[in-house]
Structures are given as structure tokens and as C-alpha cells.
Amino acid sequence: MSVVSPGAYARVLTNPFIVLGLPPNASPAEIERQGQRLLLQLGAGRDGAATYVSPVGPGTRTPDLVRWAVDQLRDPRRRLFHELWAGVPPR
């Protein structure tokens, strides 16, 4: 990480696409389904669901974060913004 501001760092780490492990072109149905699937996995205490990989390092996945991520992508305007940051190349 050289010249990425802390805001940009957080934006990449908590990018909804990255949190959900989906590409920026995922369909609304895929997003809902993946969100539901991750919540089930977290609810069942399944290993592996609780962490995810991001370009700026590993993140901790919680049910709140998953719900937030799905909700962010339901709004077309917010989704556009997240699509941009999901594409930030790792540094």
C-alpha cells in the first residue's frame, strides 16, 4: 500500500462485491442468493465462511457485514459506486 488513503483502503476492504466474493457484474438474483448462502453458513458456524480475501488483505465476514453488503448492492446508484472500487487493482 503506498498512496491509497485510509478511506480508500476501507472502501476496498469492505467493498460489497469483495465481501460477498462476487464479480462486479453479478446479477441481482446472484447477489441475493449469495447473501442468503453466506448467512446460512455463518449461522451454522461453518469454518471458512468467516473470512474472505480482498486485494488489501483478509477481512472478517460477519452476518451484519453480509446484510449490509447485499443491501448496498440493491440500490442501483450505490452499486455503481461499488463496482468502481471492486475494480481497484491490488497494490
Binding site: 438474483a29 442468503q36 453458513q41 460477519t62 440493491r74
Partner: protein
């Protein structure tokens, strides 16, 4: 969950009337109260022996015994005050009174179903602020509910009116004019998921305002005929006004069906020892003339909601009417004229909310029946925990299962799901080493699908599972209930750090890092870090409403904490409006969590008056300027603000007469007015604002062109177009919103420039005289210069960020921002 038919309970806890509905998965029914009606008046009476009566029986005493009978306490939910009951010399909070209503509704459900419900969904106005939601959840707890979910009333109404099923892809407007509150909500159904696009409303606009307008008219008539002066602000008139109010309400309801009615009371009014006969004829035209301005205010909210979200009125599929006052022909007629949409008729506007809440309980799987002991596993069956949605809009949802303890029997190695209609069977899936299996099912569209689970051991022998089946309903669902207003932390420079944006799904939890503004020294009087939590949609923190404060006193910190120290703030918000705040100070390794005064602010008349006077003066200045400049558009906008001011002055009179509810209404109106005046004052300096904005746009496009990538350039193009059209429309608020995106893009590009942090270092060095700790600042500056000479960009950045934390915020701004100790 126990087997058998489920029971879902939905409650409409209204200002005037409440209702409860039950849903068993197929039929939605209203539970009748002891008087046989489906509406229970939200009225509580406590007699001299301390006996509590609720509903229609209590309402009868509203006129004759107002000192011991209370109504409309929903409007005071979340405020600190308690309401007194003279005869029993007791006082009850609005939560406790609401709990009485909920207890009564709960027993109605028990009468109807034989089950004492433990869980329920309660509908709350979409515009409810956090303290009000929290108070509602508390009332439910007091009434004996083990847990409740809150749903916004418009979402409940749209669900009950069959929104997503009638038209799977369309926009609906829910027009909810209740006794005391008005909500307008724009909803959109897509992929079977009902989403609240946005909502707007007025917490203090309702059928009651019709009655108040009529009451003022009646008092005026009586004054004229009897040669006296009767005004609501006179405490001597207050008692008489209460008995008149019921007569006025009856007349207004009569006039929805007939053309003429009479306002009369059974006994003459007694004002200061004088008897005044009440017998006044009134016709529908008079009522409509008196009520039209109130309806117009509600329609203005609707058109603002539509235009803010880029909707032409013609694009609305249907308008759902909710609330008793919507039966008034005037309301329907004005809505048809102004919104050019068809009205969803044929639904009872009084019980829609309760029915929708019950349907929502089902999509949430919130069964109200008491939990029973788990049934002992069937002999030989292997226990398994199934995680799958009860209701889903997804035709191919996931199911996840985890095997329990099998006590030495053969363990399932493979699982297969078979749909009971025989139309689909899954592949045979392995159980993993954690004892977990996961599969994607295929549901029957718009129906209930039952799946049988078949397990086989490694040797191929069949093992029965317990439970052996799972059923899932394919239907429309509501996403997690969205937050009605943005919640954030007020910063010392009057900005808000938003934690949860309006519309965010609940529950939610977020953490941000902020920095302290001043040094905290133990032993110094009043030394503390104040973290004010605010709710609202404004950029300026002082315009948002405070909903809680986390205050960390120097004694608790127990150490000298320099200005610029890191504070990690975590806010957690659940669906029932419980807000928790936690602050962690990594420098001393301590964590603090106690949120104080989560109540609506007090509204003493003297303070309101001062605020009213100041707003009146500011408006006068603006009006003079608008007339001088012949700015007809501004004159029109100011006209609206002045109407609000007149209303506020009238309600302030009532507040002086002891009407606490009117005081809260004034507080709310003045706060809105403050925002209007702020915006208008910004408009006066419009030419400067435009040239400043254009300058920023030019700089942004330069940076993004040089340092940005293709996506950023595309985003900037879109944001700039939005800014330009907002400039054309002279919508300052909208310009600022889009400029935030422009600034973010420009910043990202700017800081990619290898020299950016060095430039920032030079710029900050020029302001070093203002630093809260000059020596510390000098040290960071030297460190930064040193790093710059070595080409160490990370080092320069660290020094600049440390310097920023030492620069003071604008002191004048901070006093308006609830003394925030953060930046």
C-alpha cells in the same frame, strides 16, 4: 419450533386506534376485542383504585374525566416525560401506556386463538426516530412479548395491499394519513423483493390536524356569537376544548357521507364560570376549505418525494391509501388530481397495517407460539439442524444442514433432497468433515414446496433423519427492514460522519476511526471526550437531531490524552431501534460504552419562542431581498416557509397552554424551517456558489483525466452531468450530494500523484500556527520534510495526517454541534 399450524401476529399500534392481525400461513384475520370490534382506541384510563381500562371503555371517559384518561401518547413515545393520573396519584410513561394497549391486544389474540403470543411484528411510522422505535420495543417487552420485530407502516400496508403479487415490477406510493402522523413511501418491487426506494413524511401531520383546524374554527364561531374570546392557548379554555374535540371529530366523520352536520355537545361549555351553548351547523364545503391546506401539505410531501427520486407522477402504478382520514372524499379527489394515479381501492384503510405486519412476521419466520421442549428424536432417526429460509423470492435457494450427535450409530455420508411433488430431486451430495452439507433447491413458483431429506451411510444403507422434511414458501419478501434516517457521529466542524445511511439494512454494525480535538487532562473540570450521535439527512450536523451521546470523562480515561488521539468508534443498531456505541482508545488500551439520554430533546416554550423569533427575523431579511430582486421563485418558496412559521406560532400558543404534544410539533417544525432558511440563505449567494462549484469541477476533471482509470473517468462524467443538471435546477442540496462523488473521485486521483503528499505538507505547514500542540506539530513537520527529501512517500503521508489532527476545527461551528470532541 413446535409442529402444527404456525401463528404469526402483526400489530398496528396507532396514535388513535390500534389493531392486531393473525396469519396462519393461509388466512389473515383480525382479532376482535372484548367489545367485538377490530379497532381498539389507543386510550388508557386509571381510576382512583388504580384499575386500568383500555380501548373503547376508556375512550368514553376522555371527555368527562380527562385527568385520568390519556390518549395520543404515541406522539410522545421516546420523550422523557410521564403522564399523570390524578385520582390514583400515579404517573405513567408513554411506553407504559402503550404497553397497556399491547397487553390488551395480546389478550385478544389469546381469546381468538387460545395461544398467548410471545413474538410479534409491530408497525411503526417510517419517520420514527431512533428513541421512538426503541420506546416501542420497550413497550412490547413490558407487555410480556419475548421479542418483537419492527416494520415500517408503509411496507406493511403495501404487503397487505398485495403490492408485489398484483404487479411484480412497478412503483407504488403508500399514502398513510393517520390520526397523528403522515407517511409517504415510494416502493418498488423487483425480482419478488419489495424495496423501499425512499420515504418522506411529517411526524406531526394527521387527522388530528383536521380536527384542530375545525376546533379553531368552532372556537372562532362561538367567540363571535357570544361576544367572548376563546383561544386554545387559554388554560381556562383547554378543558372545554377537549369536550368540543370529540364533537368536532364526529361531525368530520359524518361529513364524509353527508353534506351537512351539526356540532353539538350534550351539556353547555363552561368557561370562566360562564355557560356557552354549542349548536353549530357546518357543511362539507366549510370542512373541505378548512382541511384543504392540510391535505395540500401532505401532497407537497408526495410530489417532493417523487421528484427527489426522479419519478414523474404518471409513473406510479398505484396509490395505497392507509388511515381513517383517507376515507374523506376531499383527500381522494385531491390525490387523483395531483398525482394522476389510480387508487388501490377495496382495502380497509384502517386495518391494512396490522394485516401487513402479520404477513411480514411470516416472511421472517417469527412464530408467535411459545417454544416447546424439543421432541425426542424418532427411534433410529439421526438428528440434523436445517438452516433454510421460510419464505423466499429466490426459486433456487440454498439449504444448509449440520448433523447432530448420532450416539454411535452409522453416520450419514451422503444426502439427497426430493421434492414431494416428484418434480425435482437433487444430486447425492457428500457430508463434509465438519458434518455439514449444503445444497441448492428448486422451488415450485408461487407455492409451498416440501422436500424430503434422504441420508445414506458410507456403506449405502439408508439412515432416517429428524426432521426428515423441510418446507419453503416461494413468495415475495421484504429485504431487511431499512433505516428511516441516516445515523452518524457529529464532528467538531459541523460535519457528520455517517455510520448508517438512510435505507441501510438492519441490524447493522460499523466502526470508524476519528481523532480527538482537544487534549484531555484528568483532574481538569469538565475535561471529557463527547461523542454526539445524530440522525438526519443534512450535511450540517447541527441540523440533524441528536439521538444519544457517549461521553468519556477524563477521570475514566485516567491518563493525559493529547489532541489528535485515535478513537475507534463502533455503532451497533438493531431492528428494534437499540443503538449501542463503543469507543476504543488504542493509546491507553481502554474501551468505553454507555450511551446517555436517548430521548427526544425537551421543548420548553421559552426556548422555542427564542428560536421562532430568530427564524422570523432571518425570513424577513430573505423576503426583503427576494422582493428587491423580483425573484418570484424565491418568493414562492418563502411563502411555504412562512406558512410553517404561522403554524408554529399557533402551536406555540397551545404549547404555552400546557399542550406538550404541540411543543414537540413546534420543535420539529422549527427544525425543518431552519433547514429551509439555511438553504434559502445559500441560494442568495448562488452566483458565488455556482462559480465555486464550476472551479471544483474543472480541477476534478483535470485530476481524473491525468491520474484516473477508465471507470473513474466514466463515473466522473456521470457525476458532473448530475451536478450540471442540479445547477440548472438551482438545487443546492442536490449539487452538494453529487459533488461528494466528484470530490471522492478527484481525491483518489490527486493522491495517486507521486508529489501529492509533499504538496499537502507544504500547504499544512502554512497553517502550523493554529496547531493545538505547536511543538508536536513542528516535530511532525520536520519528520515530513526529512521523508520528502528521501522520496519516502509513506513517511510524508504519515506526517501530513498527524499534522491534520493537530489543526483545530472552527470553534464557532463546534458550539452548534453539541460540543463534539471529535474530528
Amino acid at each position: 419450533m413446535p409442529g402444527g399450524t404456525p401463528l404469526y401476529v402483526g400489530i398496528d399500534l396507532g396514535t388513535t386506534n390500534s389493531a392486531v392481525a393473525t396469519f396462519d400461513g393461509e388466512v389473515c384475520a383480525l382479532a376482535r376485542n372484548s367489545s367485538g370490534g377490530s379497532l381498539t382506541p389507543s386510550v388508557v384510563r386509571i381510576d382512583s383504585r388504580g384499575n386500568v381500562t383500555v380501548g373503547a371503555r376508556a375512550r368514553r371517559f376522555l371527555e368527562t374525566d380527562p385527568a385520568n384518561t390519556r390518549a395520543e401518547f404515541k406522539r410522545l413515545m421516546g420523550t422523557a416525560g410521564a403522564l399523570s393520573f390524578a385520582a390514583s396519584a400515579t404517573a405513567r410513561t408513554p411506553e407504559e401506556l402503550s404497553a397497556e394497549i399491547l397487553r390488551s391486544l395480546r389478550s385478544d389474540v389469546r381469546e381468538a386463538t387460545g395461544i398467548d403470543p410471545e413474538r410479534a411484528v409491530i408497525a411503526v411510522p417510517a419517520m420514527f426516530e431512533l428513541p421512538q422505535s426503541r420506546a416501542t420495543a420497550e413497550a412490547a417487552r413490558l407487555a410480556g412479548f419475548e421479542s418483537v420485530e419492527l416494520i415500517q407502516e408503509p411496507v406493511a400496508s403495501a404487503l397487505a395491499a398485495g403490492c408485489p403479487t398484483v404487479n411484480p415490477a412497478g412503483a407504488w406510493l403508500v399514502y398513510d394519513l393517520g390520526g397523528g402522523t403522515f407517511d409517504a413511501s415510494l416502493l418498488e418491487a423487483r425480482d419478488g423483493l419489495l424495496r423501499v426506494v425512499a420515504h418522506d413524511g411529517d411526524n406531526f401531520l394527521g387527522g388530528r390536524d383536521f380536527d384542530t383546524a375545525l376546533l379553531d374554527w368552532v372556537l372562532g364561531e362561538l367567540s363571535r356569537r357570544n361576544g367572548v374570546t376563546l383561544e386554545r392557548k387559554d388554560p381556562a379554555v383547554a378543558a372545554a376544548a377537549r369536550s368540543l374535540k370529540l364533537a368536532v371529530e364526529d361531525a368530520r366523520i359524518d361529513l364524509t357521507r353527508v353534506e351537512r352536520a351539526t356540532i353539538a355537545t350534550s351539556s353547555p361549555l363552561v368557561v370562566s364560570g360562564r355557560e356557552i351553548e354549542v349548536d353549530i351547523a357546518i357543511d362539507r364545503a366549510t370542512v373541505e376549505a378548512l382541511c384543504a391546506p392540510i391535505v395540500r401539505r401532505s401532497i407537497e410531501v408526495c410530489t417532493r418525494l417523487l421528484s427527489d427520486n426522479g419519478f414523474e407522477p404518471g409513473r406510479i402504478e398505484r396509490v395505497v391509501l392507509v388511515g381513517g382520514p383517507t376515507v374523506m372524499p376531499l383527500v381522494r379527489q385531491m390525490l387523483r388530481e395531483h398525482l394522476a394515479a389510480s387508487l388501490a381501492d377495496g382495502e380497509d384503510p384502517m386495518t391494512l397495517v396490522a394485516r401487513g405486519a402479520a404477513l411480514f412476521a411470516a416472511t421472517f419466520g417469527l412464530d408467535a407460539r411459545p417454544k416447546t421442549e424439543p421432541v425426542p428424536p424418532a427411534a433410529g432417526a439421526f438428528p440434523v439442524w436445517i438452516h433454510a429460509p421460510t419464505v423466499t423470492a429466490d426459486l433456487q435457494p440454498y439449504l444448509l444442514g449440520r448433523l447432530g450427535e448420532g450416539s454411535g450409530r452409522a453416520t450419514p455420508a451422503f444426502i439427497r433432497a426430493r421434492r414431494s411433488d416428484g418434480g425435482w430431486t437433487s444430486a447425492e451430495l457428500p457430508v463434509d468433515s465438519e458434518g455439514v452439507f449444503e445444497m441448492q433447491l428448486l422451488l415450485v413458483s408461487r407455492a409451498t414446496s416440501v422436500f424430503g431429506l434422504e441420508a445414506t451411510a458410507a456403506d449405502g444403507s439408508l439412515i432416517p433423519l429428524n426432521p426428515g422434511t423441510v418446507s419453503i414458501v416461494h413468495g415475495s419478501t421484504v429485504g431487511d427492514p431499512p433505516l428511516s434516517r441516516t445515523i452518524g457521529v457529529a464532528l467538531a466542524d459541523d460535519r457528520v460522519r455517517p455510520f448508517f445511511e438512510r435505507g441501510a439494512a438492519l441490524p447493522a454494525k460499523r466502526t470508524f476511526v476519528q481523532h480527538t480535538v482537544s487534549t484531555v487532562i484528568p483532574g481538569r473540570e469538565g475535561s471529557a471526550i463527547r461523542i454526539p450521535i445524530v440522525q438526519g439527512e443534512f450535511d450540517a450536523a447541527h441540523l440533524c437531531r441528536p439521538v444519544g451521546t457517549l461521553e468519556i470523562r477524563a477521570e475514566e480515561i485516567g491518563a493525559h490524552l493529547p489532541a489528535g488521539s485515535v478513537v475507534e468508534i463502533t455503532l451497533t443498531l438493531d431492528r428494534a431501534g437499540h443503538l449501542a456505541a463503543r469507543a476504543h482508545l488504542p493509546q491507553i488500551g481502554k474501551t468505553f460504552e454507555h450511551v446517555e439520554h436517548l430521548v427526544l430533546p425537551d421543548a420548553p416554550p421559552a426556548k422555542l419562542e427564542a428560536s421562532l423569533t430568530s427564524l422570523r427575523d432571518r425570513l424577513a431579511v430573505l423576503r426583503a431581498a427576494a422582493f428587491a430582486g423580483r425573484d418570484t421563485e424565491a418568493i414562492r418558496r418563502l411563502g411555504g416557509a412562512e406558512r410553517l412559521l404561522v403554524d408554529a406560532a399557533r402551536d406555540l400558543d397551545a404549547a404555552r397552554g400546557g399542550d406538550e404534544d404541540a411543543a414537540q410539533k413546534v420543535r420539529r417544525n422549527l427544525s425543518d424551517l431552519d433547514a429551509v432558511v439555511d438553504e434559502e440563505e445559500a441560494n442568495r449567494s448562488w452566483p458565488e456558489f455556482v462559480s465555486e462549484t464550476l472551479g471544483l469541477l474543472a480541477a476534478a476533471s483535470q485530476w481524473v483525466a491525468a491520474q484516473g482509470n477508465d471507470t473513474e473517468r466514466r463515473m466522473l462524467g456521470e457525476a458532473m452531468a448530475a451536478v450540471r443538471s442540479a445547477l440548472d435546477a438551482r438545487a443546492a442540496e442536490s449539487v452538494r450530494r453529487h459533488m461528494r462523488v466528484v470530490n471522492q473521485l478527484a481525491c483518489a486521483s490527486y493522491f495517486r500523484h507521486p508529489k501529492a503528499w509533499s504538496w499537502e505538507l507544504d500547504r499544512t505547514a502554512a497553517e502550523i500556527d493554529r496547531a493545538s500542540d505547536r511543538d508536536e506539530a513542528e516535530r511532525h513537520l520536520r519528520r515530513g520534510r526529512d521523508a520528502a527529501s528521501k522520496g519516502d512517500v509513506d513517511g510524508v503521508r504519515a506526517a501530513v495526517q498527524a499534522l491534520w489532527r493537530l489543526l483545530p476545527p472552527d470553534v464557532e461551528a463546534n458550539t452548534r454541534v453539541y460540543d463534539s470532541g471529535l474530528r
